[in-house]
């Protein structure tokens, strides 16, 4: 336990996110696997940042690459068809 400063501070309990690709080494990252990739893009088709997804740097790079490849092949959209207002 770290030594806390005297003055009381509001404490945050941040649950440490673990990279799920590190936990399960068999989980493939592939541009063909659309369902997995969908979990890493927002409704607007943006790639979810590492800060939120919890991926490690190495796997985030691979996910990003796979998403971009899938977009090129029109497997995932760059942006939603009907704009969300």
């Amino acid at each position: 336990m770290p030594v806390m400063p005297r003055r009381k501070r509001k404490q945050f309990y941040v649950r440490r996110k673990v990279c799920r690709f590190c936990v399960d080494a068999n989980l493939p990252i592939d541009y063909k696997d659309v369902n997995t990739l969908r979990q890493f893009v927002t409704e607007r088709g943006k790639i979810i940042p590492r800060r939120i997804s919890g991926n490690c740097a190495r796997h985030q790079r691979r996910v990003t690459r796979a998403i971009k490849q899938a977009r090129l092949l029109a497997l995932i959209a760059y942006t939603p068809q009907v704009p969300i207002t």
């Binding site: 541009y31 063909k32 490849q69 977009r71 092949l73 029109a74 497997l75 995932i76 760059y78």
Partner: protein, 146 residues
Amino acid sequence: MRRYESVWVVNGDLPDEEVKSAIDKFSTIISSQGGTLVGLDEWGRRKLSYKIQGTIRGYYVLADFAGTSETVKELERNYRIDDRIIRYLTTKKSDKVNLEVLQAEIAARAKAAAPPAEPEAAAPVEVDAPVEAAAPEEPADAAKEE
């Protein structure tokens, strides 16, 4: 030789014959340019996530093959020439290819694709046998328990 994977998307509005000829054309290119086709996987017609050249449907084909950089170069050159191809993507899967492993994989693929009729014929025979075998055993067990 390296192991590659290439996906190409044929315009889905074209008639089946056109699509088929496009598939044949590109698999032939792979084989004729010093490549070895391991497997051809047709995903079929899929809805595209966005419009490409005015169409919303595409016929996806995935080719798994071993070849050289020349094979890929020629393949991609032809993708660009052919109007029927709306998208393509070639990725390298591994730098080295073991020919024996490759042959084994081709054989395994052929086996998996070829005999869908065989298990059907074999199944009823297997079903009959265990029933007969199981029947005499049960009384024997019961007798032991008594």
